[in-house]
């Protein structure tokens, strides 16, 4: 900046490169330069794995003192095969994975509403007016990171719990339904993060986004249950958490899936539909709105 005063209009010094990978790199820096990302993901992974491992360890303790197979039912009482111990279930304890859903949705949400509530979004869009590209890069980076996070938590939970239960029918990834369960649990992280991003982009406020996404992901599947009205149950079935529950169900054990069960294929379709819808919403709501 030591050029002598000359009033000819300033021209571009270098040619422009508008590459998508630049935006990916920028979003990567943004994600990891926040302490909250490290903290939420670190503490979240430890908690979820901890709950699962604790469940496996207590089951191992319990089973050490009782026969693996329930004793034959007394005459006249029907056999209850669903009471048979399910080792796979200990890797996928409901409360642990509900927490996992909240963590993933929060990380995704923060990545978007964090920019809106801080005002950074204006700096971002003034630097990159191609908003769709910014959101697409954010979606790609957050999904990839959350997939790795999900795979780590899911794989570790499965590995440690089944190792603790190796004496009591612990599974390996080659067993029926095991890989499917691990994959479905891993994918739940990017799915929920995307839903968090979509809600964050639509609501744009921190508290509102968190409340909305928890209601959407946890409350609705809990409310839309029961067999009285089929449509109520079908709505419940179409929620990611219901699909996840179906996908982590051990096919080697008898489970009561109810009157309107979800098939495995349908569960995967639910996953796919939510991912597509979340990405579409995140892209659409940021397209033209004033920021």
């Amino acid at each position: 900046m030591t050029a002598p005063p000359d009033k000819t209009p300033f021209r571009l010094p270098v040619q422009e490169h508008a590459r998508f990978r630049h935006l990916l790199a920028a979003e990567w820096i943004k994600l990891w330069s926040l302490r909250s990302t490290h903290r939420v993901l670190g503490a979240g992974a430890l908690t979820v794995i901890g709950i699962n491992v604790n469940s496996a360890a207590s089951n191992a303790d319990r089973l050490a003192h009782q026969p693996l197979m329930p004793s034959d039912p007394p005459p006249g009482v029907p056999a209850r095969p669903e009471l048979l111990f399910d080792p796979l279930h200990t890797a996928f304890v409901d409360p642990a994975w509900q927490l996992f859903v909240i963590i993933a949705a929060t990380v995704g949400g923060i990545a978007v509403f964090g920019e809106h509530s801080s005002g950074l979004i204006r700096t971002t869009f003034a630097a990159v007016p191609d908003r769709q590209a910014v959101i697409a890069a954010k979606v790609a980076v957050v999904s990839a990171v959350m997939l790795v996070f999900g795979a780590l938590v899911s794989g570790t939970s499965f590995g440690i719990t089944q190792m603790l239960l190796r004496e009591y029918g612990g599974l390996s990834l080659g067993d029926p339904g095991a890989l499917r369960a691990v994959a479905a649990a891993a994918l739940l992280a990017p799915l929920c993060a995307l839903v968090g991003m979509a809600v964050g982009a639509a609501v744009r406020h921190a508290a509102g986004s968190i409340v909305a996404v928890i209601a959407l992901l946890l409350l609705i599947p809990a409310l839309f249950q029961g067999e009285r009205h089929r449509w109520v149950r079908e709505i419940g079935n179409a929620m990611p958490l219901s699909a996840w529950q179906r996908l982590v169900t051990n096919p080697e054990r008898t489970h009561d899936l109810g009157k309107y069960p979800l098939t495995v294929t349908e569960a995967w379709i639910v996953y796919g539909a939510w991912i597509i819808a979340a990405v579409a919403v995140a892209l659409l709501v940021t397209r033209r709105r004033d920021v």
């Binding site: 009033k7 490169h17 630049h22 920028a26 820096i29 990159v128 191609d130």
Partner: protein, 306 residues
């Protein structure tokens, strides 16, 4: 003369409120242009539309002939500081600037360069939540300089800066303009612009009030006035009015005369044997001229205090 920024009939309405009303103006390179208006005049809304952040309800605003929002990347075209608070305070200054630079395909060394340029090399590794407003302004200016852009837009950049910082910023704007860049700086204070801008765009209530050279603006809008104190209440006012002057009686009994130089008033008084207790010429400041011009359009005026 080249026109770089051009607004044509630019309009923005929020429901029934019209924030910007059919505003047309141009900004040319090589000079600092002051964008001046009282609070709520529509400066920020206009700049946001310029940057593609808000969509105009009507009209257009272009940078180098194109709406800025149509460009895939912005930093090499327009460097902007809209609000120093538009950052995530959880990041370090370096991380904030690096993300911006990398996203625009700029080399990472630009981050250290601009931090040095704004005098913040030491603070690069610190988290922004520990920054004063002045430091955030410097950080915002650093971000605007990242892409070495031909056009720079600053919204109220002097807020929060200490006198040394204000001096530095003025020098920087002047230097950027001297390099042939287009520099648009908004402010709600004329005295900030007096020593900063060469060209002025004055707006009020979303409307364009004046767009001209600062010197022309001063010449047209700052009429000298003379304070006159006299025990006489009949003869002199009449005389002055007949000579074409405007005479206003102030609350303290003195007169404010515009349209006649002090010398002429003195001669008239002498000739007609009117006793004068005081004859004091004032030249109205630009600030007063600005207040006068925007008086009608001030949105939040302190009624009784005026």
């Amino acid at each position: 003369m080249d026109t770089v920024i051009e607004a044509t009939e630019l309009t923005k309405r929020y429901g029934r409120t019209t924030a910007v009303d059919r505003m047309s103006f141009t900004v040319r390179p090589g000079v600092v242009t002051g964008f001046l208006g009282p609070n709520g005049a529509g400066k920020t809304t206009t700049l946001r539309m310029l940057l593609g952040l808000n969509r105009p309800t009507g009209g257009t605003v272009t940078v180098d002939g194109r709406p800025f929002g149509d460009r895939p990347r912005g930093l090499r075209h327009v460097g902007a500081l809209l609000d120093a608070h538009d950052v995530h305070v959880g990041r370090t200054a370096r991380a904030h600037l690096t993300a911006l630079a990398v996203g625009n395909g700029l080399p990472r060394r630009r981050v250290a360069e601009v931090m040095g340029e704004v005098g913040m090399a030491e603070a690069a590794g610190r988290r922004i939540d520990g920054f004063s407003l002045g430091m955030k302004q410097r950080l915002g200016i650093a971000a605007a300089l990242l892409g070495d852009p031909p056009v720079l837009v600053f919204d109220e950049p002097l807020n929060g800066l200490d006198p040394e910082g204000v001096h530095w910023v003025r020098g920087l704007f002047k230097q950027l303009a001297d390099e042939g860049r287009t520099v648009l700086v908004s402010s709600h204070l004329m005295r900030e612009m007096e020593q900063t801008a060469e060209e002025l765009i004055v707006i009020g209530r979303g409307r364009l009030l004046a767009a001209q050279n600062l010197r022309d603006f001063a010449a047209r809008n700052t009429r000298p006035r003379v304070g006159v104190r006299t025990p006489d209440t009949v003869v002199l006012p009449g005389l002055l009015t007949r000579e074409g002057a405007t005479v206003r009686r102030e609350d303290d009994g003195s007169y404010t005369v515009t349209g006649l130089p002090a010398e002429r008033i003195g001669e008239l008084a002498f000739t007609h044997r009117v006793r004068l207790h005081e004859l004091s010429p004032h030249s109205a400041s630009l600030e007063e001229a600005f207040m006068e011009l925007t008086r009608e359009s001030v949105e939040y005026s302190a009624g009784a205090a005026r």
